[in-house]
Symmetry: D2
């Protein structure tokens, strides 16, 4: 089968012809890919940024944001049948550790991360496990929803954690209205009645944010802190969701967080520099966020299938993976690029 | 009356003769001081560190850790009578804002902080409000418990927030077994069954920590991260309570925090430097902590009066305030120094 | 001034001429009533149902659902000025007990309940306290929002407690789409993405429920349990909000509650009969609900002023109080009857 | 192998010779039983009480409280090896449904309950799954801990849910200091600083309760409600844990629950009769409890292996199962009867 494989860091991936994956264990599932999202993390992987943590197994197949149809199942799988339409939780977990059993499966102690730690979904077929498959309505087109498997779940997870803090009368600042941010705004608008302030450098992104439910938008032109201070009477916001966290956003985000508030880090690239006195005198928190749980992906699919969360996507054939990655890197993709084998 | 007053930054306070405070509003209370704790924050105030935030009102009376007896009450006070033994919540709050009504009175929007923003308790009498007074058993000696009014409540507040994370089988790392830390250890031991690892540079402090309930102690000799890694099988701890947060502890504390864990900042002085990638790839949190609520102080007094939290104190006459501060600065105080007028 | 006073149980109240209330304590506030809601609880009070609990102080002035304008304030009140438009939290609390400080002011240990335990708001003026006043936009008309002071806060409080249970993909059954229920449906629709099933005997109420956000409506015609079982694939719902809880609804509500689910009792009149084996074998809960906190009333007013919660009301002059009560008793009031002095 | 099998309701079980279980699916595990607890639920099963819910599959092997050693594992099991000492979570779950993934595995949608819905552990060997096995220190004797598999986990689960309500200064009433209750008291004493009041008709049980950490004990002699009212200044307790819930305890428990408090039903047999007005006017809750999660059993084993929870047991050979059941029924067992094959 064809697969988009990375052979060397700092080189574009190439289309290889590789053997199809085969069922190994009783809970294995092979999925025929219907759509594989192209993510900024793919660019970071190509730059070697994830090598230290994930031991990027060169050469290997990229793609950690996948949806498709069940192709074959292991002997122990009873919950799925060939032909089922599925979206895939990004992690392949065992389900036996404390985290999996406590509803924190993204912290599974024995997990694999297809597309990061082993072959991913930018290919015709992907090996995953029964535990990773969220069944969808048969009529759902995988390419339409694939981006929810990583961008979506990550935004939803952060919003869901913030909900108890966002009762009526509060304000939530959203930094970045791009791939993740525009999903986060929709989740906030449908799950809370908080006032949403969105910050982005791109006026088009802000226009979209308004359509999706933002009450206020702020152009990131260097005066964004003042704008938020004015909108919050100098108090800052109880919740800041930072989908950027680089190039100064990480300092803005902390500064915009009010007393007793929480600064949610979702993007990455920058570094926080925070005096402990600043942390304690205001009792602010920094909250980490990474993908989300299987249940959260299932919940998000309920919102998506009800039309409450929608995605902007642009599809490319699998052969054009390098083009899609180059377009993403150059800022030429609006919404999410999706490879369709 | 006599009062310990700071006239200039970087100068020791002096004993002034000042008028006794008088009742202004209907909910005012004047307390005859029985004990006023001497805190590292007093040293920081004298260095001017809190001026920017609190607008230190020079010259003024120090002392933010106070207990004594009710001396006089305003016309609207029905919950207290002259002679009642009381410990004082450090903040004077109005009780009308969202925070006060939500059980977060330390974030009151209209509060005063005697000893920081106005005259404190290193004096014969202190002006506070009925809302700040926790009634004690009449036989309680204020000088014995005064240190719980700030050091105690701060340690208790942090532990209480961490309890849901510290179910049996978990590990809690405590950095610093001094004034606050030795109270925190006792709170952990009485309110959880977590395994407690205590880190301190001082072997005597570690000996005390063991007596108070620590399962493991680690000398902070430069190899403390390795020691914690070994004790946690390389995983780190789900909770780190950092009562130091300066001189490298703030980097240690973050490094010792395990995946999905929370690093509680309680001490201050240092600065955190954390790449956003570190925050998100492990989904760790930084949790701010500042004093605690009135209810928490009341709860802590239940523990203290039951003998489950005890304090090491050394008393000084009010006139010897400068000596007490100098002893504290030089590391000559074991436990807490208390001024007794 | 004129006041609607109850002299004897089982007799209609009469319009008396009584002295205006006067400021007693420093935090007292006198409110000129702009609207006083007429509630089914008033009928129950007249029947003597609340006498045992509240020691109904005959003769006295009815009215526990009040809004208006500040008329006069005590010497210690700084947060309000004559002329301010306010809606009143139903309880007059001290703010000093554990409950008030923990964000549970409806469980204040030293509270009064105007309209139940002392003179209420069906009069030209009402004595309350500064702690009970929620300031509104000056242009708000008190008669338009008064019903939120009790019916609204009660519905909102129950919904707010249920929110963590109502993530996307869940179902919430609402029994009763009348005065409280039609507010509860709006709160659910704006604060969650749960699927809402509404049950009522009145087809008009169900029509309104659909307009307000219900996905399914069920006529209470004796087959309502089967209907809910079918809609939930035999599993029942994780949350049932019972705004009726009499005449069989209380048995229906429990039966419709699914495994590990919670049955919220908000209405009253009936009696629960539940075998302990039923409670434990399914791990279901019964959740009590009574009014709500001051903060919750303030949050609800945010929703109301944003147009997300709206009320159907019918106004009567104060003199027509007996008519309004009779109309309510006879089922002739759609939405809420409001007395306007 | 020998097995204790129930052939008919209302008849004692008999010792049959049956085939050993065999591995069917890839995650199956066969455990050599080291100890099987004898529970009051076994008596209720024999009376047919569970037939309607569990479809008791007569004839079948009793025993739902099991510990032993792994004997054989299926092809997909990697977490266990023959010889491992294990205690068994009472349910065999799939791990794929929302409940399992949310940390509520006792509400698994596709579970089996050995000893209730299929062959249990009163036999030489038991068929379970890898997901049900909690690994223990090799030196642990299964017969010593087997009773924690059901009695223990159930008591621990209820206490763990109550912990957030039981901060210092609160009171917890425990009804019943028998098999479950005496474990619950130990969990309360080690995990909270609440004041514990224990009620039991048996003075010996109360003596044990005091040794285990109860501050007050009350003989259930008909005046128990007054005793609790006096100890709580007429307010009742915020938490009542009712391990009995029959023969009047269920009415006592509700009556002893204070305003805004929670009545935890753990025992069964009685029926609650509660006016909705009682539920709402005090905002009290009834909280169901059934066994607990796998993680909770693992946590409890940490407490047990640290000596913080200990059990009173009496062992019987497997052949003497009928004697053990008769002794239990007649109140001749102190602590828990354990069958040892």
């Amino acid at each position: 089968m064809k697969a988009v494989r990375l052979h060397e860091f700092h080189q574009p991936p190439v289309i290889d012809d590789v053997p199809e994956p085969t069922i190994g264990g009783p809970l294995d599932v092979i999925v025929k890919i219907g759509g594989a999202g192209v993510c900024r993390t793919d660019l970071h992987i190509m730059e070697g940024q994830w090598d230290e943590r994930m031991h990027t197994p060169l050469p290997y197949t990229l793609g950690h944001e996948n949806a498709g149809w069940v192709h074959e199942v292991g002997s122990g799988v009873t919950s799925l049948q060939p032909g089922d339409t599925v979206i895939l939780h990004p992690l392949v977990t065992e389900g036996l550790c404390h985290a999996c059993r406590a509803g924190d499966d993204m912290h599974c102690e024995n997990s694999a991360f297809p597309g990061l730690s082993r072959d991913g979904g930018m290919a015709e077929y992907l090996l995953t496990s029964a535990r990773a498959c969220v069944k969808l309505n048969p009529e759902t087109r995988p390419a339409d929803v694939a981006a929810l498997a990583d961008a979506g779940i990550t935004a939803y997870h952060a919003v869901r954690k913030a909900i108890p803090l966002l009762y009526p009368g509060t304000t939530c600042v959203v930094i970045g209205a791009g791939g993740l941010g525009h999903i986060g705004i929709q989740c906030l608008a449908t799950l809370t009645a908080t006032r949403i302030i969105v910050i982005d450098a791109n006026p088009d992104a802000l226009k979209l944010a308004e359509q999706l439910g933002a009450q206020h938008t702020v152009v990131a032109d260097g005066r964004q802190r003042d704008a938020v201070a004015e909108l919050t009477k100098g108090k800052g916001a109880p919740v800041v969701l930072d989908f950027v966290a680089e190039q100064g956003a990480e300092a803005d985000g902390w500064a915009m967080t009010g007393e007793a508030g929480s600064y949610f880090v979702i993007g990455y690239g920058g570094t926080l520099h925070i005096p402990a006195l600043d942390v304690i005198s205001t009792e602010r928190n920094v909250v980490g966020n990474i993908v989300g749980t299987y249940n959260e992906l299932a919940e998000l699919m309920v919102l998506a299938q009800a039309g409450k969360v929608t995605l902007h996507t642009r599809t490319y054939p699998l052969d054009a993976a390098a083009d899609a990655l180059a377009d993403l890197d150059a800022g030429r993709v609006r919404g999410r690029a999706i490879l369709v084998p």
